[in-house]
Protein backbone atom coordinates (compact mmCIF):
# COMPACT_ATOMS: atom_id res chain seq x y z
CA UNK A 1 0.00 0.00 0.00
CA UNK A 2 3.00 2.24 0.39
CA UNK A 3 2.83 3.50 -3.18
CA UNK A 4 -0.68 4.79 -2.46
CA UNK A 5 -0.18 6.35 0.95
CA UNK A 6 2.77 6.57 3.34
CA UNK A 7 2.68 4.04 6.17
CA UNK A 8 1.82 6.57 8.89
CA UNK A 9 -1.20 7.87 6.99
CA UNK A 10 -2.31 4.33 6.26
CA UNK A 11 -2.00 3.66 9.99
CA UNK A 12 -4.20 6.69 10.69
CA UNK A 13 -6.88 5.29 8.38
CA UNK A 14 -6.68 1.91 10.08
CA UNK A 15 -7.01 3.55 13.49
CA UNK A 16 -10.08 5.26 12.11
CA UNK A 17 -11.44 1.89 11.02
CA UNK A 18 -10.77 0.56 14.51
CA UNK A 19 -12.79 3.41 16.04
CA UNK A 20 -15.58 2.78 13.52
CA UNK A 21 -15.70 -0.90 14.42
CA UNK A 22 -15.61 -0.13 18.15
CA UNK A 23 -18.34 2.49 17.85
CA UNK A 24 -20.45 0.07 15.84
CA UNK A 25 -19.98 -2.75 18.34
CA UNK A 26 -20.84 -0.67 21.39
CA UNK A 27 -23.81 0.96 19.68
CA UNK A 28 -25.14 -2.32 18.32
CA UNK A 29 -25.02 -4.16 21.64
CA UNK A 30 -26.72 -1.21 23.34
CA UNK A 31 -29.30 -0.91 20.58
CA UNK A 32 -30.18 -4.58 20.63
CA UNK A 33 -30.58 -4.72 24.39
CA UNK A 34 -32.71 -1.60 24.33
CA UNK A 35 -34.79 -2.90 21.44
CA UNK A 36 -35.64 -6.08 23.35
CA UNK A 37 -36.66 -3.99 26.35
CA UNK A 38 -38.75 -1.68 24.16
CA UNK A 39 -40.54 -4.59 22.55
CA UNK A 40 -41.26 -6.23 25.89
CA UNK A 41 -42.61 -2.99 27.33
CA UNK A 42 -44.63 -2.33 24.20
CA UNK A 43 -46.15 -5.82 24.40
CA UNK A 44 -47.68 -5.17 27.81
CA UNK A 45 -51.28 -4.11 27.85
CA UNK A 46 -50.52 -1.02 29.90
CA UNK A 47 -51.35 1.97 27.72
CA UNK A 48 -48.95 4.71 28.86
CA UNK A 49 -46.07 2.27 28.29
CA UNK A 50 -47.15 1.78 24.71
CA UNK A 51 -47.48 5.51 24.12
CA UNK A 52 -44.02 6.17 25.45
CA UNK A 53 -42.49 3.45 23.29
CA UNK A 54 -44.43 4.63 20.24
CA UNK A 55 -43.30 8.21 20.75
CA UNK A 56 -39.69 7.06 21.19
CA UNK A 57 -39.84 5.06 17.97
CA UNK A 58 -41.59 7.86 16.07
CA UNK A 59 -38.97 10.44 17.09
CA UNK A 60 -36.06 8.28 16.02
CA UNK A 61 -37.65 7.22 12.76
CA UNK A 62 -38.52 10.73 11.67
CA UNK A 63 -35.50 12.85 12.55
CA UNK A 64 -32.23 12.55 10.59
CA UNK A 65 -29.48 10.77 12.49
CA UNK A 66 -27.12 13.68 12.02
CA UNK A 67 -29.52 15.97 13.86
CA UNK A 68 -29.96 13.38 16.63
CA UNK A 69 -26.21 13.11 17.13
CA UNK A 70 -25.86 16.90 17.32
CA UNK A 71 -28.68 17.01 19.80
CA UNK A 72 -27.08 14.44 22.10
CA UNK A 73 -23.67 16.04 21.98
CA UNK A 74 -24.63 19.67 22.39
CA UNK A 75 -27.92 19.37 24.24
CA UNK A 76 -28.05 16.48 26.65
CA UNK A 77 -24.88 17.03 28.74
CA UNK A 78 -26.21 20.48 29.70
CA UNK A 79 -28.80 18.93 32.00
CA UNK A 80 -26.27 16.79 33.86
CA UNK A 81 -24.75 17.99 37.17
CA UNK A 82 -21.43 19.77 36.63
CA UNK A 83 -19.23 17.12 38.23
CA UNK A 84 -20.52 14.31 36.05
CA UNK A 85 -20.46 16.52 32.98
CA UNK A 86 -16.80 17.51 33.34
CA UNK A 87 -15.85 13.95 34.18
CA UNK A 88 -17.53 12.89 30.95
CA UNK A 89 -15.68 15.56 28.96
CA UNK A 90 -12.40 14.26 30.35
CA UNK A 91 -13.23 10.73 29.23
CA UNK A 92 -13.91 10.97 25.53
CA UNK A 93 -17.44 12.37 25.67
CA UNK A 94 -17.56 12.47 21.87
CA UNK A 95 -17.34 8.72 21.54
CA UNK A 96 -19.79 7.86 24.31
CA UNK A 97 -22.42 10.40 23.29
CA UNK A 98 -22.17 9.37 19.63
CA UNK A 99 -22.54 5.74 20.71
CA UNK A 100 -25.63 6.61 22.76
CA UNK A 101 -27.23 8.54 19.88
CA UNK A 102 -26.47 5.77 17.40
CA UNK A 103 -27.72 3.08 19.80
CA UNK A 104 -30.99 4.89 20.48
CA UNK A 105 -31.57 5.58 16.79
CA UNK A 106 -30.92 2.00 15.78
CA UNK A 107 -32.88 0.52 18.70
CA UNK A 108 -36.09 2.19 17.47
CA UNK A 109 -35.75 0.41 14.13
CA UNK A 110 -34.63 -2.88 15.64
CA UNK A 111 -37.62 -2.80 17.98
CA UNK A 112 -39.92 -2.47 14.97
CA UNK A 113 -38.20 -5.40 13.25
CA UNK A 114 -38.47 -7.61 16.31
CA UNK A 115 -42.07 -6.60 16.82
CA UNK A 116 -42.96 -7.68 13.28
CA UNK A 117 -41.28 -10.99 14.09
CA UNK A 118 -43.33 -11.27 17.26
CA UNK A 119 -46.55 -10.62 15.44
CA UNK A 120 -45.77 -13.52 13.16
CA UNK A 121 -45.87 -15.93 16.13
CA UNK A 122 -49.41 -17.28 16.47
CA UNK A 123 -51.15 -16.17 19.67
CA UNK A 124 -52.01 -19.80 20.36
CA UNK A 125 -48.36 -20.52 21.17
CA UNK A 126 -48.39 -17.82 23.79
CA UNK A 127 -51.63 -19.13 25.23
CA UNK A 128 -50.34 -22.70 25.24
CA UNK A 129 -47.20 -21.70 27.12
CA UNK A 130 -49.22 -19.76 29.69
CA UNK A 131 -51.58 -22.73 30.02
CA UNK A 132 -48.59 -24.97 30.73
CA UNK A 133 -47.71 -22.75 33.67
CA UNK A 134 -44.99 -20.49 32.27
CA UNK A 135 -45.26 -16.93 33.52
CA UNK A 136 -45.16 -13.94 31.16
CA UNK A 137 -41.38 -13.52 31.21
CA UNK A 138 -40.72 -17.23 30.80
CA UNK A 139 -43.11 -17.43 27.88
CA UNK A 140 -41.37 -14.52 26.21
CA UNK A 141 -37.89 -15.76 27.01
CA UNK A 142 -38.25 -19.41 25.98
CA UNK A 143 -41.12 -19.60 23.49
CA UNK A 144 -41.87 -16.35 21.73
CA UNK A 145 -38.64 -14.35 21.51
CA UNK A 146 -36.38 -17.10 20.08
CA UNK A 147 -38.79 -17.76 17.24
CA UNK A 148 -39.44 -14.08 16.62
CA UNK A 149 -35.72 -13.37 16.48
CA UNK A 150 -35.28 -16.01 13.81
CA UNK A 151 -37.98 -14.39 11.67
CA UNK A 152 -36.55 -10.93 12.29
CA UNK A 153 -32.99 -11.96 11.49
CA UNK A 154 -32.84 -10.69 7.88
CA UNK A 155 -34.14 -7.19 8.69
CA UNK A 156 -31.91 -7.09 11.79
CA UNK A 157 -28.85 -7.83 9.67
CA UNK A 158 -29.92 -5.00 7.37
CA UNK A 159 -30.17 -2.67 10.39
CA UNK A 160 -26.71 -3.72 11.56
CA UNK A 161 -25.31 -2.84 8.14
CA UNK A 162 -26.99 0.56 8.24
CA UNK A 163 -25.64 1.17 11.74
CA UNK A 164 -22.12 0.29 10.62
CA UNK A 165 -22.32 2.77 7.78
CA UNK A 166 -24.10 5.41 9.84
CA UNK A 167 -21.24 5.56 12.33
CA UNK A 168 -19.80 8.01 9.80
CA UNK A 169 -22.12 10.78 11.02
CA UNK A 170 -20.21 10.76 14.34
CA UNK A 171 -17.62 12.67 12.33
CA UNK A 172 -19.73 15.80 12.81
CA UNK A 173 -18.99 15.88 16.56
CA UNK A 174 -15.31 15.06 16.23
CA UNK A 175 -15.16 11.29 16.70
CA UNK A 176 -12.04 10.22 14.84
CA UNK A 177 -13.61 7.34 12.93
CA UNK A 178 -12.92 6.24 9.37
CA UNK A 179 -14.68 9.05 7.48
CA UNK A 180 -13.15 11.65 9.83
CA UNK A 181 -9.66 10.27 9.19
CA UNK A 182 -10.37 10.04 5.47
CA UNK A 183 -11.24 13.70 5.22
CA UNK A 184 -8.36 14.64 7.49
CA UNK A 185 -5.78 12.86 5.33
CA UNK A 186 -7.41 14.11 2.15
CA UNK A 187 -7.13 17.61 3.50
CA UNK A 188 -3.53 17.06 4.50
CA UNK A 189 -2.29 15.51 1.27
CA UNK A 190 -4.89 16.52 -1.35
CA UNK A 191 -4.75 12.92 -2.70
CA UNK A 192 -8.54 12.84 -2.93
CA UNK A 193 -9.13 9.75 -5.05
CA UNK A 194 -6.54 7.57 -3.35
CA UNK A 195 -7.76 8.33 0.15
CA UNK A 196 -11.46 7.99 -0.65
CA UNK A 197 -10.75 4.82 -2.62
CA UNK A 198 -8.98 3.14 0.26
CA UNK A 199 -11.68 4.23 2.71
CA UNK A 200 -14.39 2.83 0.44
CA UNK A 201 -12.60 -0.51 0.24
CA UNK A 202 -12.26 -0.57 4.04
CA UNK A 203 -15.99 0.13 4.47
CA UNK A 204 -16.81 -2.60 1.96
CA UNK A 205 -14.64 -5.09 3.85
CA UNK A 206 -16.59 -4.28 7.01
CA UNK A 207 -20.03 -4.50 5.44
CA UNK A 208 -19.20 -7.67 3.50
CA UNK A 209 -17.99 -9.28 6.73
CA UNK A 210 -21.30 -8.35 8.36
CA UNK A 211 -23.29 -9.66 5.38
CA UNK A 212 -21.35 -12.94 5.59
CA UNK A 213 -22.00 -13.19 9.31
CA UNK A 214 -25.70 -12.55 8.69
CA UNK A 215 -25.91 -15.24 6.02
CA UNK A 216 -24.12 -17.68 8.32
CA UNK A 217 -26.49 -16.94 11.21
CA UNK A 218 -29.46 -17.35 8.91
CA UNK A 219 -28.25 -20.77 7.82
CA UNK A 220 -27.55 -21.81 11.41
CA UNK A 221 -30.94 -20.78 12.73
CA UNK A 222 -33.08 -22.17 9.93
CA UNK A 223 -34.59 -25.37 11.25
CA UNK A 224 -34.15 -28.18 8.73
CA UNK A 225 -32.82 -27.50 5.30
CA UNK A 226 -35.17 -25.48 3.24
CA UNK A 227 -34.61 -25.23 -0.46
CA UNK A 228 -35.01 -21.51 -1.03
CA UNK A 229 -35.16 -20.70 -4.70
CA UNK A 230 -37.16 -18.04 -6.43
CA UNK A 231 -37.02 -18.81 -10.09
Amino acid sequence: MDFLLPADQMAMLLWGLRTTVLLFTVAWVGAFALAVILVTVRATEYRPCRWIVDAFVAYHRNVPLLVQVMFWYFGMPEILPEGIRFWLYDHNAEFSLAAIALALGSSAYQAEDIRSGLRAIPATQFEAARALGCNYLQTMRFIVVPQALRISLPPLVGRALLLFKNTSVAMAIGVAELTYRTREIENMTFKTFTVFGIATVLYLLGTFALMGLGAWLERRTTPGRKERRHA
Partner: protein, 229 residues
Protein backbone atom coordinates in the same frame (compact mmCIF):
# COMPACT_ATOMS: atom_id res chain seq x y z
CA UNK B 1 -36.34 30.13 19.98
CA UNK B 2 -39.57 31.79 18.85
CA UNK B 3 -37.51 34.77 17.81
CA UNK B 4 -35.34 32.58 15.58
CA UNK B 5 -38.44 31.07 14.00
CA UNK B 6 -40.09 34.42 13.35
CA UNK B 7 -36.87 35.85 11.88
CA UNK B 8 -35.78 32.93 9.80
CA UNK B 9 -38.87 30.85 8.94
CA UNK B 10 -38.66 31.86 5.31
CA UNK B 11 -35.00 30.73 5.13
CA UNK B 12 -35.97 27.36 6.59
CA UNK B 13 -38.84 27.01 4.12
CA UNK B 14 -37.49 28.23 0.79
CA UNK B 15 -33.92 29.45 1.38
CA UNK B 16 -33.08 32.70 -0.39
CA UNK B 17 -35.79 32.37 -3.05
CA UNK B 18 -36.90 34.49 -4.93
CA UNK B 19 -33.84 36.72 -4.45
CA UNK B 20 -31.41 33.82 -4.52
CA UNK B 21 -31.46 30.11 -5.24
CA UNK B 22 -34.35 28.01 -3.98
CA UNK B 23 -33.41 26.13 -0.84
CA UNK B 24 -34.57 24.94 2.55
CA UNK B 25 -37.48 22.59 3.02
CA UNK B 26 -38.71 23.09 -0.56
CA UNK B 27 -35.35 21.91 -1.91
CA UNK B 28 -35.31 18.94 0.46
CA UNK B 29 -38.70 17.85 -0.88
CA UNK B 30 -37.72 18.35 -4.52
CA UNK B 31 -34.55 16.29 -4.10
CA UNK B 32 -36.37 13.53 -2.21
CA UNK B 33 -39.30 13.27 -4.65
CA UNK B 34 -37.06 13.35 -7.74
CA UNK B 35 -34.72 10.70 -6.32
CA UNK B 36 -37.48 8.32 -5.32
CA UNK B 37 -39.25 8.71 -8.67
CA UNK B 38 -36.06 8.09 -10.62
CA UNK B 39 -35.00 5.17 -8.45
CA UNK B 40 -38.36 3.40 -8.85
CA UNK B 41 -37.94 2.02 -12.40
CA UNK B 42 -34.31 1.11 -11.69
CA UNK B 43 -35.35 -0.70 -8.53
CA UNK B 44 -37.98 -2.72 -10.43
CA UNK B 45 -35.33 -3.59 -13.01
CA UNK B 46 -32.89 -4.79 -10.33
CA UNK B 47 -35.65 -6.76 -8.59
CA UNK B 48 -36.53 -8.46 -11.92
CA UNK B 49 -32.87 -9.25 -12.50
CA UNK B 50 -32.52 -10.71 -9.03
CA UNK B 51 -35.47 -13.05 -9.63
CA UNK B 52 -34.37 -13.85 -13.16
CA UNK B 53 -33.98 -17.38 -14.50
CA UNK B 54 -30.41 -16.63 -15.63
CA UNK B 55 -27.80 -17.30 -13.00
CA UNK B 56 -25.31 -14.68 -14.22
CA UNK B 57 -27.94 -11.94 -14.15
CA UNK B 58 -28.95 -12.90 -10.60
CA UNK B 59 -25.31 -12.84 -9.54
CA UNK B 60 -24.50 -9.55 -11.23
CA UNK B 61 -27.54 -7.75 -9.85
CA UNK B 62 -26.96 -9.15 -6.36
CA UNK B 63 -23.32 -7.98 -6.50
CA UNK B 64 -24.35 -4.52 -7.67
CA UNK B 65 -26.97 -4.18 -4.97
CA UNK B 66 -24.66 -5.37 -2.17
CA UNK B 67 -21.90 -3.09 -3.39
CA UNK B 68 -24.13 -0.01 -3.25
CA UNK B 69 -25.58 -1.06 0.10
CA UNK B 70 -22.08 -1.75 1.41
CA UNK B 71 -20.73 1.80 1.31
CA UNK B 72 -21.93 4.73 3.41
CA UNK B 73 -24.12 7.20 1.56
CA UNK B 74 -21.63 9.92 2.43
CA UNK B 75 -18.93 8.06 0.49
CA UNK B 76 -21.30 7.46 -2.44
CA UNK B 77 -22.10 11.17 -2.59
CA UNK B 78 -18.40 12.03 -2.67
CA UNK B 79 -17.78 9.52 -5.43
CA UNK B 80 -20.65 10.85 -7.52
CA UNK B 81 -19.37 14.34 -6.92
CA UNK B 82 -15.90 13.50 -8.23
CA UNK B 83 -16.59 10.81 -10.80
CA UNK B 84 -19.77 11.85 -12.66
CA UNK B 85 -18.24 15.03 -14.12
CA UNK B 86 -15.12 13.16 -15.22
CA UNK B 87 -17.12 10.38 -16.87
CA UNK B 88 -19.66 12.61 -18.58
CA UNK B 89 -17.40 15.56 -19.27
CA UNK B 90 -20.08 17.97 -18.07
CA UNK B 91 -19.99 20.05 -14.95
CA UNK B 92 -22.76 18.65 -12.78
CA UNK B 93 -24.27 20.81 -10.07
CA UNK B 94 -24.38 19.71 -6.44
CA UNK B 95 -28.13 19.33 -6.80
CA UNK B 96 -27.93 16.74 -9.58
CA UNK B 97 -25.02 15.00 -7.87
CA UNK B 98 -27.11 14.53 -4.75
CA UNK B 99 -30.11 13.37 -6.80
CA UNK B 100 -27.91 10.88 -8.67
CA UNK B 101 -26.32 9.51 -5.49
CA UNK B 102 -29.67 9.18 -3.73
CA UNK B 103 -31.20 7.56 -6.83
CA UNK B 104 -28.48 4.91 -6.95
CA UNK B 105 -28.60 4.36 -3.20
CA UNK B 106 -32.38 4.19 -2.96
CA UNK B 107 -32.67 1.99 -6.06
CA UNK B 108 -30.55 -0.63 -4.30
CA UNK B 109 -32.66 -0.54 -1.14
CA UNK B 110 -35.98 -0.25 -2.93
CA UNK B 111 -35.10 -3.23 -5.13
CA UNK B 112 -34.86 -5.37 -1.99
CA UNK B 113 -38.32 -4.25 -0.89
CA UNK B 114 -39.83 -4.87 -4.33
CA UNK B 115 -38.06 -8.20 -4.69
CA UNK B 116 -39.60 -9.37 -1.44
CA UNK B 117 -43.02 -8.29 -2.73
CA UNK B 118 -42.56 -10.08 -6.05
CA UNK B 119 -41.32 -13.24 -4.38
CA UNK B 120 -44.36 -13.21 -2.11
CA UNK B 121 -46.85 -13.37 -4.99
CA UNK B 122 -47.86 -17.07 -5.11
CA UNK B 123 -46.00 -18.94 -7.81
CA UNK B 124 -49.24 -20.52 -8.97
CA UNK B 125 -50.37 -17.15 -10.28
CA UNK B 126 -47.34 -16.76 -12.51
CA UNK B 127 -47.71 -20.32 -13.72
CA UNK B 128 -51.39 -19.80 -14.42
CA UNK B 129 -50.73 -16.60 -16.36
CA UNK B 130 -47.95 -18.22 -18.36
CA UNK B 131 -50.03 -21.31 -19.15
CA UNK B 132 -52.80 -19.05 -20.40
CA UNK B 133 -50.31 -17.81 -22.97
CA UNK B 134 -49.19 -14.59 -21.29
CA UNK B 135 -45.58 -13.69 -22.01
CA UNK B 136 -43.00 -12.87 -19.32
CA UNK B 137 -43.55 -9.13 -19.46
CA UNK B 138 -47.32 -9.36 -19.72
CA UNK B 139 -47.41 -11.65 -16.69
CA UNK B 140 -45.12 -9.32 -14.80
CA UNK B 141 -47.00 -6.18 -15.74
CA UNK B 142 -50.55 -7.33 -15.23
CA UNK B 143 -50.28 -10.08 -12.64
CA UNK B 144 -47.17 -9.91 -10.48
CA UNK B 145 -46.24 -6.23 -10.17
CA UNK B 146 -49.68 -4.78 -9.38
CA UNK B 147 -50.03 -7.11 -6.41
CA UNK B 148 -46.38 -6.99 -5.37
CA UNK B 149 -46.11 -3.20 -5.40
CA UNK B 150 -49.38 -2.77 -3.57
CA UNK B 151 -48.36 -5.25 -0.89
CA UNK B 152 -45.04 -3.53 -0.23
CA UNK B 153 -46.51 -0.01 -0.07
CA UNK B 154 -45.50 0.34 3.60
CA UNK B 155 -41.92 -0.54 2.67
CA UNK B 156 -41.93 2.00 -0.16
CA UNK B 157 -43.33 4.65 2.17
CA UNK B 158 -40.59 4.09 4.74
CA UNK B 159 -37.97 4.22 1.99
CA UNK B 160 -39.39 7.57 0.93
CA UNK B 161 -39.13 8.83 4.51
CA UNK B 162 -35.50 7.71 4.73
CA UNK B 163 -34.79 9.50 1.47
CA UNK B 164 -36.09 12.74 2.96
CA UNK B 165 -33.84 12.29 5.97
CA UNK B 166 -30.85 11.35 3.84
CA UNK B 167 -31.06 14.55 1.81
CA UNK B 168 -29.56 16.17 4.93
CA UNK B 169 -26.19 14.77 3.85
CA UNK B 170 -26.35 17.14 0.88
CA UNK B 171 -24.68 19.73 3.09
CA UNK B 172 -21.29 18.09 2.46
CA UNK B 173 -21.46 19.11 -1.20
CA UNK B 174 -23.16 22.42 -0.44
CA UNK B 175 -26.64 21.59 -1.71
CA UNK B 176 -28.92 24.28 -0.46
CA UNK B 177 -31.40 22.06 1.43
CA UNK B 178 -32.95 22.20 4.88
CA UNK B 179 -29.88 21.26 6.96
CA UNK B 180 -27.75 23.62 4.89
CA UNK B 181 -30.25 26.40 5.51
CA UNK B 182 -30.13 25.64 9.23
CA UNK B 183 -26.35 25.84 9.12
CA UNK B 184 -26.57 29.21 7.38
CA UNK B 185 -28.84 30.47 10.13
CA UNK B 186 -26.41 28.95 12.62
CA UNK B 187 -23.53 30.82 11.08
CA UNK B 188 -25.40 34.10 11.30
CA UNK B 189 -26.49 33.63 14.92
CA UNK B 190 -23.22 31.89 15.82
CA UNK B 191 -24.10 31.31 19.47
CA UNK B 192 -27.37 29.38 19.41
CA UNK B 193 -26.82 26.08 17.60
CA UNK B 194 -28.86 24.16 20.14
CA UNK B 195 -32.02 26.14 19.44
CA UNK B 196 -31.41 25.96 15.71
CA UNK B 197 -30.97 22.18 15.83
CA UNK B 198 -34.13 21.79 17.90
CA UNK B 199 -36.09 23.70 15.26
CA UNK B 200 -34.44 21.63 12.55
CA UNK B 201 -35.34 18.37 14.31
CA UNK B 202 -38.90 19.55 14.80
CA UNK B 203 -39.32 20.40 11.11
CA UNK B 204 -37.99 17.03 9.98
CA UNK B 205 -40.14 15.27 12.53
CA UNK B 206 -43.34 17.03 11.52
CA UNK B 207 -42.67 16.51 7.82
CA UNK B 208 -41.76 12.82 8.04
CA UNK B 209 -44.31 11.93 10.69
CA UNK B 210 -47.22 13.57 8.91
CA UNK B 211 -46.15 12.12 5.56
CA UNK B 212 -45.85 8.58 6.85
CA UNK B 213 -49.18 8.87 8.68
CA UNK B 214 -50.83 10.37 5.60
CA UNK B 215 -49.50 7.73 3.25
CA UNK B 216 -50.52 4.86 5.50
CA UNK B 217 -54.00 6.37 5.88
CA UNK B 218 -54.18 6.52 2.09
CA UNK B 219 -53.13 2.90 1.84
CA UNK B 220 -55.72 1.94 4.43
CA UNK B 221 -58.51 3.65 2.52
CA UNK B 222 -57.46 1.96 -0.72
CA UNK B 223 -57.50 -1.41 0.99
CA UNK B 224 -60.93 -0.69 2.34
CA UNK B 225 -62.20 0.35 -1.08
CA UNK B 226 -60.84 -2.81 -2.61
CA UNK B 227 -62.60 -4.77 0.09
CA UNK B 228 -59.34 -6.14 1.46
CA UNK B 229 -60.10 -5.35 5.08
Amino acid sequence: MLEIISNYWLTFLIGQYPNGPLGGLAMTMIVAVLSILMSFPIAIGIAMARLSAWGWLRMASAALSSFVRGIPLLMLIFWCYFVIPIMTGYAVSGFWTLVAALTIYEAAYLSEVIRAGMAAVPKGQTEAARSLGGGYFLTLRSVVLPQALFNVLPGITSQFISTIKETSLGYVIAVNELTFAANQVNNQLLTQPLQVFTILAAIYFLLCFLLSRGLSALEFSIRRKRGLI
